[in-house]
Amino acid sequence: MTHAAFLVIAALAVASALGLVLRRNAIHGALFLVVNLGSVAALYLTLGAEFLAAVQVIVYAGAIMVLFVFAIMVLIPGKEETGLDPRRGWRLLALPVGALLALQLLLVVRAGVGPVAPAAAVPGGVEAVARLLFTRYLLPFELTSVLLLAAMVGVLLLARRRV
């Protein structure tokens, strides 16, 4: 039963990723990516990380992708990438190379599979994450806040109109 659920959600994730990469229209691609992020959030739920699933939907699918869609709407509607592609040959080489990459990674995964240990109950609630975040990972947490401040200042400077 859980395997069936995993396969369905995984198929949705792969299909929406392909949709992002293959669609000409950037907005359709962005919405496919939102579906992909939602399906990965569902996978987090099956892995027992409920807080992370909620944060993924709120932050990634609900804020970052909204920013993307905004930017796409502002930067002219319709399709770009018209015109001849001078490096078409090189670009199309990416497809077999990408397939090779996928094959290599899957072989690595298969080689690394050890005996499946009985999974200990992973603490997925807010409390477990918060406990770690404020004790062991306190320094990265504070540094992240400084990073976000730096990003905000940078964006404000870049978005100013230089008339």
Binding site: L31, V34, E50, I58, G62, A63, V66, F70, M73, V126
Partner: protein
């Protein structure tokens, strides 16, 4: 047998929530017209009748629905085909699913089973409502974009900016409530509001977090794009993201508006007004602070609590309608300034203040 019973019970919980929300949404069109009429000293819509029976205009929502269903479903020539049809569905879908984690009653103990009266029990229920509200932005942006109309696009961007601002303010103002009641699970928060401060004052959210209540209600009204925050589509002044929609698609956008109102009312009730808690009524019966008790059967207690929840949601909706017909609307920059320079810093200050008070109090009530 047991599996069928489990499925039936799960279905029943979801059905109650969905029917409650959908019916309230439909009823709100009538409430809006009648309440505004009473406030403005006129009669309001009372012409729709079936077999000569008028019923104070209660058939008007039905008449509106029939009108919208029979209108031409127009699609502009330059509209993006898929997104144009998808946008109203996305709006309504996320507004409906947001209500799933709001508890409408205590755990019902019947036939040896414990049935939590909540559509879905989630440990991160508050964050779930947030997530659904933040995904609702997509419906609006898709509508604005896919109409093929520059003014609709601008309206969609205005609406999206407003919704994001409101969402941030909502999140920050809820933090104080979560700190006081110590859990993200909505059922725990509502249960925690049954405690009595100093022996006689019910520890409702509005008592323990008054500033957060005001901030949340303001940000909630902004998130639903109701007046005074309806500058995305300010009926007689400026056109918005659903200008190219007609018929039932437009009806779905209006419906999504009312559904979000119900969701915000439900959240306000659960977080600040005690949810399904009736003061001095606990699982055994009435228990007044000076010791007088009155035992009541379990089913009656649960029924009273569900009724209390419905009543409180209706009261909050009444208040929101009251505000709608009283205040003029904000301009775009005024609304943004209020959201980022008013609501957000005050919410952060509320968090700091709550932390200080909790430290001095030495724990939670």
């Amino acid at each position: 047998m047991s599996l069928a019973a489990d499925l039936g019970i799960a279905f029943g919980r979801v059905a109650f929530v969905m029917l409650f929300v959908l019916n309230m949404g439909g009823l709100l069109t009538w409430v809006e017209r009648k309440q505004s009429a009473i406030m403005q000293d006129r009669i309001g819509a009372n012409r729709a009748s079936i077999l000569g029976l008028r019923l104070f205009g209660l058939f008007h929502p039905l008449a509106d629905a029939i009108k919208m269903l029979t209108k031409e479903d127009f699609r502009p020539a330059r509209a993006d085909r898929v997104l144009f049809g998808l946008a109203p569905f996305v709006s309504v879908f996320f507004a409906l699913t947001a209500f799933a984690s709001i508890p409408f009653g205590d755990t019902l103990r019947v036939g040896g089973r414990e049935i939590p009266l909540q559509a879905v029990t989630l440990n991160v229920g508050v964050l779930y409502v947030f997530a659904m509200l933040s995904l609702g932005v997509y419906g609006v942006m898709m509508a604005g974009w896919s109409s093929g109309n520059n003014f609709a696009l601008l309206g969609g961007q205005r609406a999206a900016a407003l919704m994001i601002t409101a969402e941030v303010a909502i999140g920050a103002s809820i933090m104080g409530v979560i700190m006081v009641y110590g859990s993200l699970n909505m059922m725990d928060i509502v249960r925690g509001q049954g405690a009595l401060l100093w022996g006689w004052l019910p520890a409702w959210g509005i008592v323990t977090q008054p500033l957060a209540f005001v901030l949340f209600l303001t940000a909630g009204i902004a998130a639903t794009k109701r007046i005074p925050f309806d500058m995305p589509e300010g009926e007689s002044e400026i056109i918005g993201y659903f200008v190219e929609y007609s018929g039932m698609k437009f009806g779905m956008f209006a419906m999504a508006d009312f559904l979000e109102t119900v969701v915000i009312a439900g959240m306000t009730t659960s977080l600040f007004l005690g949810g399904w808690q009736v003061p001095y009524l606990d699982a055994a019966g009435v228990r007044l602070p000076w010791g007088w008790t009155w035992a009541l059967p379990h089913l009656l207690v649960v029924l009273l609590q569900v009724g209390a929840f419905v009543l409180k949601v209706c009261a909050v909706i009444f208040f929101m309608m009251l505000i709608r017909w009283t205040l003029p609307r904000f301009r775009y920059d005024q609304a943004m300034r209020l959201g980022w320079l008013g609501l957000f810093p005050l919410s952060i200050a509320n968090i700091v203040l709550t932390g200080l008070v909790l430290l001095l109090w030495g724990g939670r009530p």
